[in-house]
Amino acid sequence: MNEEDLLRRATEERDNIVSRYARGREEGAPIDPWEDPGFEIYHATDRYGFIHDNRLPQKADPHELRLRQVEMEREKKWLKMLKAWGQMSTTEKLRRRIYKGIPNSLRGQAWSQLLNIKTVKEAQEGKYEEMRQLAWRWSPEIRQIDLDVNRTYRDHIMFRERYGLKQQALFNVLGAYSVYNLDIGYCQGMSQIAALLLMYLNEEDAFWALSVLVADKRYTMHGFFIPGFPKLLRYQEHHDKIMNRFLPKLKKHLDKHGVDTGIYTLKWFFQCFLDRVSHLLH
């Protein structure tokens, strides 16, 4: 295109835009639904990205407002901690603050630090890409992964769209992991953990985060996911013992009504309390 054409096109474009504003909303202005604040999804999506069936209240209630206030205070503290991570990373204060809930805006950073992702990733540069490629060609778990990606956190705005960006990322992370750790392959339950990581981390970081959770001495979720679930059974036995010892009445009551430990502790141990504590606390 020569200069004259370019100029003409720019002029046309400008006139077009100017005239749209001059006409205003009336006379059938072409507007996509999402361009207006009336777009329903804006009103039903909470601050974490979960889409609800009904419109959320316009004004946050006093309780909610107070929580946000508290979170803003925590943000300041966390920013300080993240700057001085070297000295902070093992303190009791950090531990306490994690249990109170990492502020939403800093979760990605905090998780990266806690799981030491940068170092782990650098030590195995190129590995993720290699695994991803390998998975596309060879992973025997692709079928189950596909089934589960299609129904993992579909009520979250990032995973809402079939084959959307984060669904692609989730598929890749789980596929790559299934060939990276052949003892585990893919186990149902991992898709939600990986998806939660992906809400705050990019694809490759989420992969390494999952890897650290499974293999690192501090977390060793390996025993949860390998066939037979040895670690899960051990945790549940232990939980029973604690209940019998410290809450015998409650334990008896639960037993009497057939509420066995396996039912209600599975998501606690197996999936890091996901879906069982408020998203606020993750």
């Binding site: 189950q144 129904r151 579909r154 186990c187 898709s191 998501k267």
Partner: protein, 218 residues
């Protein structure tokens, strides 16, 4: 006690391949709603509902939902033992899920032994099969298999709700029938069938061994 009044409690288990629609079936049956989005079931999940059988007897159903992925069988198998009925669930639009039904049935029989459970073969996603012509398992074929193996059969849709109620009702009615003929008994240490808490009148008649109960309990 604040528990709802019921005469018996039956435990049923739902088994079948991954994503055939076990959880959606249960969701509709207990909640009356179709879940457009539902997370994969990890391990086992639990539902309950009260229904009435033909003579007005009230039955509380405890329903165990299970993960379809093969490796979870080591967990789910401990839930078979205390079940009196099993719904063998397949997806009408997924041939393989139907072909695996005999395996699921064997698995259930093996773990429920020495008890003899009531089985129902339940096809899911009838709406999908009808609307977009994606049926991969014909009604005749499924029915033939069910007859051969002495199972109830029903095709359901958890979207429209068609036959969902029937699937559970068939099994419940049969279990109840078998109690009345004396084939099933309430046993200590087995939770497949339990008596309710609030009607002492109905409590003990089936504890008497092998004596068929002719009275109704209500």
């Amino acid at each position: 006690m604040v528990e709802p009044i019921f005469d018996y409690q039956f435990r049923l288990i739902l088994i079948g391949d991954s994503t055939v629609g076990k959880s959606s079936l249960l969701k509709y049956f207990t909640d009356g709603k179709f879940a457009e989005l539902s997370d994969p079931t990890v391990g086992v999940d639990f539902f309950a509902r009260l229904i009435e059988v033909k003579d007005g007897c009230r039955i509380k159903l405890q329903l165990w939902d299970t993960a379809g992925q093969e490796r979870f069988r080591s967990i789910t198998k401990s839930y078979y033992r205390n079940s009196v009925g099993a719904l063998l669930v397949y997806d009408i639009c997924n041939r393989a899920s139907f072909e695996h039904i005999p395996l699921w049935m064997m698995e259930a029989k093996r773990h429920i032994e020495p008890h003899r459970p009531v089985f129902a073969l339940v096809g899911c996603k009838l709406d999908l099969a009808n609307s977009s012509n994606r049926r991969e398992v014909s009604l005749e074929e499924a029915r033939a298999f069910a007859e051969q193996n002495g199972l109830h059969h029903v095709e359901t849709s958890a979207k429209s709700g068609v036959n969902v109620e029937d699937a559970f009702r068939l099994v419940t009615q049969e279990v109840y029938g078998r109690i009345q003929t004396g084939e099933y008994k309430v046993e200590d240490g087995w939770d497949g069938i339990k008596t309710g808490f609030q009607r002492p009148g109905g409590l003990d008649f089936n504890l008497i061994e092998a004596e068929p109960a002719k009275s109704t309990c209500c």
